[in-house]
């Protein structure tokens, strides 16, 4: 039986804005096993980011249980949750969030700097390996502002991989990229999936559903469908069929 990486039960998240209560997540339960590539879809405002932030230990649910890698996150304090983010989670953001004026390798080393178990030598080795895994082995010392959007997002993916997390969380990771570049990122994620990584990929674009192994659709903070996809399309094939625009 596959190992449970994420288990959430009756998860709710309410925001109080003035006198009004916004129910961003209403009673959400699911389990994600090791090695799954899950796409979470839904229109804007359906609660995808709130869900992902909760899974990423950045946000705490109003009620409900959350187990990450078998550990209950619910009762954790800020410092313990920071440690979970550092050791168990790799986050990829829509806007890359790299440190400006900082080289690729330094950006990738960053999570390991907050982990005193990792020596300086290990840190460099791991960062190099992660950058090679995203095909940026030749751009280690390029600064973030000297790179294209796609390259920056790949650095961000390397940064998410470097601490060898149990799960990679991507929030609209292709949202800022043109179609070709978006697919190159998708290819990368599919490759990670093939290597056995567990990935949750949040997008508002329903066309991207067919590239992952499971699709969850949210609407108004509730799950309206949760289906396995056994016929995974190859992002690489789609990428090759895309017209090349020279401009």
């Amino acid at each position: 039986m596959a190992k449970e990486i994420i288990k959430i039960d009756s998860l709710r998240r309410n925001f109080t804005v003035g006198s009004e209560v916004v129910h961003a997540l209403r009673n959400i339960s699911f389990t994600i096993n090791e090695g799954e590539f899950v796409t979470i879809m839904g229109t804007s405002g359906s609660g995808k980011s709130t869900l992902l932030n909760t899974l990423g230990c950045l946000d705490t649910p109003t009620s409900g249980d959350y187990y990450l890698d078998g550990i209950s996150v619910k009762s954790m304090g800020n410092n313990e949750r920071a440690r979970m983010r550092n050791r168990k989670i790799g986050f990829i953001f829509q806007s890359y969030n790299l440190l400006p004026k900082t080289t690729a390798i330094e950006n990738v080393e960053l999570p390991l700097l907050y982990n005193s178990d990792v020596s300086a030598k290990e840190r460099e080795q791991k960062a190099k390996a992660a950058l090679e895994a995203v095909e940026l082995g030749d751009r280690l010392y390029h600064k973030s502002n000297q790179m294209s959007g796609g390259q920056q997002q790949r650095v961000a993916i390397a940064r998410a991989l470097v601490n060898d997390p149990v799960i990679i969380l991507a929030d609209e990771a292709t949202g800022n990229l043109d179609t070709r570049t978006a697919f190159s990122i998708l290819i990368l994620l599919q490759n990670l999936y093939k290597k056995g990584k567990t990935i949750i990929f949040v997008t508002h674009n329903p066309d991207l559903a067919k590239y992952s192994s499971r699709n969850i659709v949210l609407r108004d903070g509730k799950i309206i469908s949760d289906e396995k996809n056994s016929q995974i399309s190859s992002a690489e094939d789609t990428y090759k069929s895309l017209p090349i625009i020279n401009d």
Binding site: G56, A82, N86, F91, F93, N97, L99, T102, L113, S116
Partner: protein, 406 residues
Amino acid sequence: MNIINLLKIALKALSNNKMRCFLTMLGIIIGVASVISMLAIGQGSKQSIKSSIAEMGSNMIMIMPGTQERGGVRQSGESQQTLKPIDFNTIKENTTKIQALSPTVNSSGQFINGANNYPSTVFGVNQDYLEIRKLTVEDGAMFSDRDILTATKVCIVGKTVTDNLFPDGESPIGKIIRFNKIPFTIVGTLKSKGYNSMGKDQDDVVLAPYTTVMKRILAIDYIQGIYASAITEDMTDDAITEITQLLRKNHKLKDEAEDDFTIRSQKELSSMMSSTSDMMTMLLACIAGISLLVGGIGIMNIMYVSVTERTREIGLRMSIGARGKDILSQFLIEAVIISVTGGIIGVILGAGSAFIIKFALNWPVIIEMYSVLLSFAVCTVTGIFFGWYPAKKASKLDPIEAIRYE
């Protein structure tokens, strides 16, 4: 979280923002540099006052006629004539705390040697005067007791006087110079002492037996003062008490009557002067301290702004596992690095400007270790103190809000 990693993070963050870093430092640099140079000037002037008092004489006590001067009111001629040679003799015969004692009378006027003349002052003294004022006879010899007894017209001259009256460099010993038409035979020359640290020429002096100055030049029967040298500095106060008793008895003063003489000591003068210069040093240090404070507020201001400016960075760091206290440490370390680096540059600049002042303006400056340590400690504390609040604010940010921040 280990400290080396935190240092690395802070250094990297600082080097990404060199301009901001420099501007923050500027306040500290100016503050520390002014503390160092102000204290150096203060210490230097204190030292020079001290040494110029020390070179005045050894454990010197000065006895002057007349009551203590009050409110600058000029006293009558009569009251300036209370010291007589008999007073000098009484002290000399009875004292147990004084090792050298000399009466003094002086007169200023023109010294003439043929075509050369030079205005100076002749001091009427005895042999002890040399010891009291730390003077040495270089060529020739000091006049004798016999010279004093018979009021011989002999004198000892200082180098400045010699140079002006004998510009050709011939030896003045045995030569006769005139002062107010009275011929004096030069029997010795004084070893040069140069200028004292207050800029006064100590070689512009002529010494003669006090009896000669009293009888032959001034025609007076009183003396203008008595110089004494206590055996040790600690005996100064006892010596003053002793002299006071002897003089009051001599002058037949009633118990309730005021002293008709004034006694000053080198010790008193030195403590008075050094307390004045201490006050000046304090004042300078206060002014400089205020600029250091302004520097500290500069740190707080720029760090406070940069917390807002760097909200996304803080959010990102938190999202990849930085704890509140890691962020707090990072910002604090940044503040300390800025202020300590600023401090080092400030020390160098302050020392540099102190030396420029020393050589360009010829002011005495002394950089004491404690002023360096002090300003260093102050700027580190400033860094921590003024860095704390913005750092605390940064560490309290909510990671989601921070990373979404535009």
